[in-house]
């Protein structure tokens, strides 16, 4: 005889499954109710329908990468808030957004994508900004089919720079190949010219993942071109164990170390460098080893560490002062900890906001001042042209590099600035240093063409599209 009481849990579970399954055809309606806007959003009333452009945010505020996610999405949201409050939106079209937590987990990101891609209250989705390599990979096919731009600022597949094969993917401002090329150019500059690189030893300490390995062939190529010796040292994920690698570095005594890290690997590397007495000002961190969160845990060992950036830290830029004036002082800032405004991830979010909003603005100039489809915003991204004058209008001189995108070039920038940690903050120590993009382009095209053949993708004819 069964003496177990009927568990009250069963009906709850059934309701749960039912509710999720029943979110069928009425996706838009129910998503609108369920995915309510983030705090601080101007709550869209019914009368405003048809006057809004929607940004779905696949954010991550919990989990191991929460520091990056909350900073980036905080900056992105604050910039959109600024455009809404200061300018009344983009040409009168208000920006709206809602968040969906991915925890940086791929399937959560895909679920969020499917949940949000339909828009919000009739406002169409402009672009996806997952800020996660894994999620971005999983969305390449989906976003291309759904015709929604997939923005992977400073990360993602290098060969997606080739917009002819990846029409909806945008590794904006800096792809991994440009990054390594710019770092080598900087080392050359510091050594007194690229021809002085001959005979130098450069070690790359990289995260044991596809991301970490991606630039190896480029380092080899540059090593051959400039005659320096390169050594690649892998640190297995997550990067808490690096003793043996640093022992090798001690034996090798390289002139420079390029740190291609991620998360906890970065502070551990800096601490180990201090332990073996390697000069920290000869370690150059890449784009994912350049945040305050990467250096503060290493304490004094990090003082003097150099890192690249496409988005220097600081609040002195006019656009950040506007954020302070219109958004933060009005109590509408997104950051729980206001001290993080102006830090690396936050400013990357600001840059990302500027580029996304600029794409909408450019596309509006062609398609009219109305909410635009993803396809139209894609056109906007491909025609972004931010020169020095425009940077000044945006209040982002020094914060964002001049950038020009096209149908075939979805990166557009390819320059970085170098900054040095002084124990309290990053101080910018160089102007924009450009990558040798002409050298990299054939390698990118070879890879993208291979992908196109493998996948049976018809390569776009950019000249023909330009004539239309």
């Amino acid at each position: 005889m069964l003496r177990t009481r009927a568990p009250g849990f069963v009906p709850f579970l059934a309701a749960a499954l039912l509710t999720t399954a029943c979110r069928s055809r009425s996706e838009n309606a129910s998503a609108a109710v369920l995915a309510s806007p983030a705090p601080g959003t101007v709550s869209p009333g019914k009368e405003s329908a048809g006057k809004e452009q929607y940004f779905p945010l696949q954010s991550y505020r919990v989990g191991p990468y929460a520091a990056g996610g909350s900073g980036f999405f905080g900056g992105f949201i604050d910039y959109m808030q600024l455009v809404n409050i200061r300018d009344g939106g983009v040409n009168g079209i208000k920006l709206t957004w809602s968040e969906c937590e991915t925890e940086y987990v791929v399937e959560r990101g895909v679920e969020c994508y499917e949940r949000l891609k339909g828009g919000l209250n009739g406002a169409p989705a402009a672009a996806m900004n997952p800020l996660s390599v894994g999620i971005a990979y999983a969305l390449i096919d989906k976003a291309t089919t759904d015709k929604i731009p997939l923005i992977t600022i400073n990360h993602g597949r290098t060969d997606s720079t080739d917009g002819r094969v990846f029409p909806y993917v945008f590794p904006l401002s800096l792809n991994p190949y440009s990054e390594i090329s710019a770092i080598v150019n900087y080392i050359g500059q510091r050594s007194g010219g690229l021809d002085h690189l001959r005979g130098k030893k450069i070690a790359v300490l990289y995260h044991g993942s596809p991301y970490g390995k991606e630039t190896q062939p480029i380092v080899e190529l540059l090593a051959q071109k400039y005659g320096f010796a390169s050594t690649h040292l892998e640190v297995p994920h997550p990067g808490t164990e690096q003793e043996s690698q640093w022992l090798q570095i001690k034996k090798l005594a390289p002139d420079w170390i390029i740190l291609r890290g991620w998360g906890i690997m970065n502070p551990v590397a800096l601490k180990n460098a201090a332990k073996i007495g390697y000069p920290v000002d000869h370690i150059i961190g890449n784009i994912w080893s350049n945040s305050e969160e990467d250096v503060i845990p290493a304490g004094a060992a990090a003082t003097g560490f150099i890192a690249i950036t496409t988005h220097p830290s600081g609040r002195q830029f006019p656009v950040l002062q506007d954020v302070d004036k219109y958004v933060l002082s009005a109590g509408k800032g997104n950051m729980t900890d206001p001290k993080r405004v102006g830090t690396g991830y936050y400013n990357l979010g600001i840059n990302n906001g500027i580029l996304n909003v600029e794409a909408v603005r450019v596309a509006q100039a062609k398609f009219g001042n109305k909410p635009l489809t993803g396809e139209q915003v894609r056109w906007g991204f491909e025609h972004i042209h931010i020169d020095d004058a425009r940077l000044k209008e945006l209040g982002a001189v020094g914060l964002l590099q001049p950038i020009e995108l096209s149908c075939s070039d979805h990166e557009g920038g390819g320059a970085v600035r170098f900054e040095q940690w002084d124990g309290k903050e990053f101080k910018v120590i160089s102007d924009w240093i450009k990558a040798d993009r002409a050298l990299l382009r054939p390698i990118i095209e070879a890879s993208s063409t291979k992908y196109a053949t493998e996948k049976g993708i018809a390569v776009r004819d950019c000249d023909a599209e330009a004539r239309l």
Binding site: L2, F9, V10, R25, P39, E107, G118, D159
Partner: protein, 363 residues
């Protein structure tokens, strides 16, 4: 884990049952069952016409793939009683092998690629299952953990497996069977269903047949199993091989039908734990439990997230909200396992039995 022993009921051979017509034998209950089965199958087939892309791509396809991996894990852990935390590694082998076959032998049919992925995973599973001949329990966990780390390292280190692509990721080939294009969300779902349904039927038969009984004998008491003539070593290796075959095919589906592009890191230890939890929450030693567990693990966080956003969104910081989600989910898992250690499958079975008694009582 012990299954209830049902006493053998010897059929009365002295008086044969009276011959009845087929129609009469198909009594009311059987008709209901057949109708239910037919209706269920029909519903599964036409589902893409009823629900939208969101449910198909974000809910059903991952659900099917993870359920299949859950069945694989259940063979090893639930039926044969061998602790394993290497399922994600075997999924990964399946996905990469299927991809590589397709890449190097152009024009390989999709289902053949998936099957090849499964067979490769089975080989890997049998290899890493070898230590189970000598060691048990937590020591075996260490061996399967090695599989987990080794496979992830191998696919990251050796570029050949990912077709020497710069990003080190694998990408699904265009999905089609014969000339039928399956690139739509509905197509992904049908492909998954086409693979998962027969494998599930096979799993039921396997679990009830000689092999499944040998596994359960090994699980319940290995010495006794050996005494009654079960080849315990063979049974364990077979559990690893078949379990890994299921995981491998699931990995192929995960990569091709669900995500499209995967990095080796996508099959990390967290994924192995996820599959282990699916089996534990769903019910060890239950095929249906694998589906229930996958549904719980996949759907419940989504539901909680939407519910929490609906109830508290706007008033609570999104980060805090997510942490509340996690606390509720963890609490529910603990409550569930405390209430019913045998998992959701048993819970639902009991509820069903109670429902039947209740109808009798009120009659």
């Amino acid at each position: 884990m012990r299954i209830e022993a049902t006493p053998w009921s010897e059929p009365n051979t002295s008086t044969p049952p009276p011959r009845t017509s087929l129609f009469a034998r198909a009594s009311g209950r059987a008709v209901v069952r057949i109708a239910l089965a037919a209706g269920g199958t029909g519903l599964l087939l036409v589902l893409p016409l009823l629900v939208d892309d969101y449910v198909l791509s974000a809910v059903l396809v991952p659900l099917l793939a993870l359920s299949l991996a859950g069945i694989g894990q259940n063979f090893v852990t639930g039926y044969a009683g061998q602790l394993s935390v290497g399922s994600a590694a075997f999924m990964s082998v399946g996905a990469f092998a299927a991809y590589d076959l397709h890449l190097h032998l152009h024009g390989t049919p999709l289902l053949v690629s998936l099957a090849f992925g499964g067979v490769s995973a089975a080989a890997a599973g049998a290899l890493f299952g070898l230590p189970s001949l000598r060691i048990r329990g937590f020591y075996l966990v260490a061996s399967t953990l090695a599989a987990q780390f080794f496979v992830e390292w191998l696919f990251t280190k050796v570029g050949w497996f990912s077709g020497n692509s710069a990003s080190g990721v694998i990408t699904a080939p265009p999905l089609s069977i014969a000339t039928v294009d399956l690139s739509s969300p509905g197509g992904h779902y049908w492909l998954s269903l086409l693979v998962v349904a027969p494998l599930t039927a096979a799993a039921y038969n396997l679990a009830r047949g000689r092999i499944g009984r040998a596994w359960m004998a090994v699980r319940d008491m290995e010495t006794a199993a050996a005494v009654v003539g079960v080849r315990t070593g063979q049974a364990k290796l077979l559990a690893f091989a078949i379990g890994s075959f299921y995981c491998g095919v699931a990995g192929g589906l995960w990569a091709f039908a669900y995500l499209g592009t995967v990095e080796p890191h996508g099959f990390d230890l967290d994924r192995s734990f996820q599959i282990l939890f699916i089996v534990i929450v769903g019910g060890l030693g239950s095929i249906a439990g694998s589906f229930l567990g996958a549904a719980f693990i996949v759907l419940f966080p989504i539901f909680l997230d939407q519910l929490a956003t609906f109830v508290m969104g706007g008033s609570v910081d999104p980060g805090v909200l997510q942490n509340i989600d996690k606390i509720i989910f963890g609490g529910l898992v603990i409550a569930l396992l405390a209430k019913q250690p045998a998992g959701l499958a048993r819970l639902i079975e009991i509820a069903w039995l109670r429902a039947r008694r209740w109808t009798l009582r009120s009659a």
